[in-house]
Symmetry: C2
């Protein structure tokens, strides 16, 4: 069986889970508390982070970027990066937008303050930084505006076809939505796009995720929110 080492609130792990599901590739999940630097896991990935994929043939692929490109080449039946060079440039540009810019502005600070800090703070008492949280909650708005701008012009984020641009953006937003920090009411076009993704069968497993000690927002599992 294919194995994916992941962390439940890691956007890169969610992106790979969705990609595997969209390509109809079976896999089992192993949650890795990567910050604990488990020696057996460091043997698999010396960088010590998730996601890591062990494919059927035993190939170990470390990191979201190598995994995504590997899956596209090893399982090309359903391409999610696009067919032409121009399409690929646009899909990869938007992957970068969300994995770099959105992650830095929104996902990383919110996941750190609301979830990871309790594990990583060691002996220091766990105290979320409310200033960091408020800054990230405000920073999400221009990103949702940008999604709306794109969706006003295209069927999906990178063009007419559903692609890894949509998967990447939805992977990040699904985490922020779990934490209850997406102001959907102020962004109807982005919401309409997200509802379309949320209702895909491949998204179902994510909606059943539960994080110990952190309840999801009430509407998190609902397709109509």
């Amino acid at each position: 069986m294919r194995v994916l080492y992941h962390y439940i609130l890691c956007p890169l792990s969610r992106k790979v889970r969705l990609t595997l599901a969209e390509k109809k590739l079976d896999f089992s999940l192993e949650q890795e508390r990567y910050w604990e630097k488990r020696p057996a896991f460091l043997q698999i990935n010396p960088a010590g982070d998730v996601p890591v994929l062990i494919d059927l043939n035993g190939s170990t692929v470390c990191g979201a970027y190598p995994i995504i490109e590997y899956l596209e080449e090893a399982y090309p039946e359903r391409s999610l990066i696009g067919e032409t060079l121009t399409q690929k440039v646009e899909v990869r540009r938007l992957m970068g937008w969300f994995d770099d810019k959105f992650a830095r502005d929104v996902t990383m600070p919110l996941v750190m303050e609301k979830n990871l800090r309790r594990y990583m703070s060691g002996t220091t008492p766990f105290a979320p930084n409310s200033h960091v949280i408020r800054t990230a909650q405000a920073a999400i708005n221009p990103h949702l505006d940008y999604i709306a701008w794109l969706i006003d012009r295209r069927n999906w984020l990178a063009g007419e076809q559903f692609s890894l641009a949509d998967i990447t953006a939805a992977a990040h937003l699904s985490i922020i939505d779990y934490l209850g920090d997406v102001p959907w009411d102020k962004h109807p076009l982005a919401k309409e796009w997200y509802m379309r993704i949320k209702s895909r069968p491949t998204f179902r497993a994510l909606l059943q995720d539960r994080v110990p000690g952190t309840m999801p927002s009430i509407h998190y599992p609902n397709l109509d929110f």
Copy 2:
């Protein structure tokens, strides 16, 4: 003429410059002070960062990851990612190592404190944070150990062939070397590997780079250091 928008101390821009040179593709450089968010540049890349490549046919490619994958596919004559799936997985894993981990530990803090902060601090007086600098200077050592570990087992970082793993690592190290913060004497194997890359003709343009207000280390342009 092909145009690359870059910043002189941006490791991702240097990686693309080296890749274009290794593929023998002519290009001209446009330095972009991307933090100034020049409106005409935001029209080209709404994310507002470098590198951005305008190819001969007018294609605009934003971001190092899209540019690298684009160049590999558009100009496959000299592959720098590898031929087999296994090789590509290893090259991309090591690109991620340096662009994510090394950048976070070493390149970003040193470039920020020693160079960018003077432009980005606005009206606040420019004062490098010496604690951040010392932490980054110490953090480089395990990375140089890892390079030595790889080079003890392989001809180049990702295997027998020179690849984008070497280009990426050298792009980052060339910047830290400019700033005079690579403890080469303590890392002879990593130094031997870097000397081999530094003596490649494609590296020459980088050795002529000069940053206003920041002199390079004395040995920066020397092939024998």
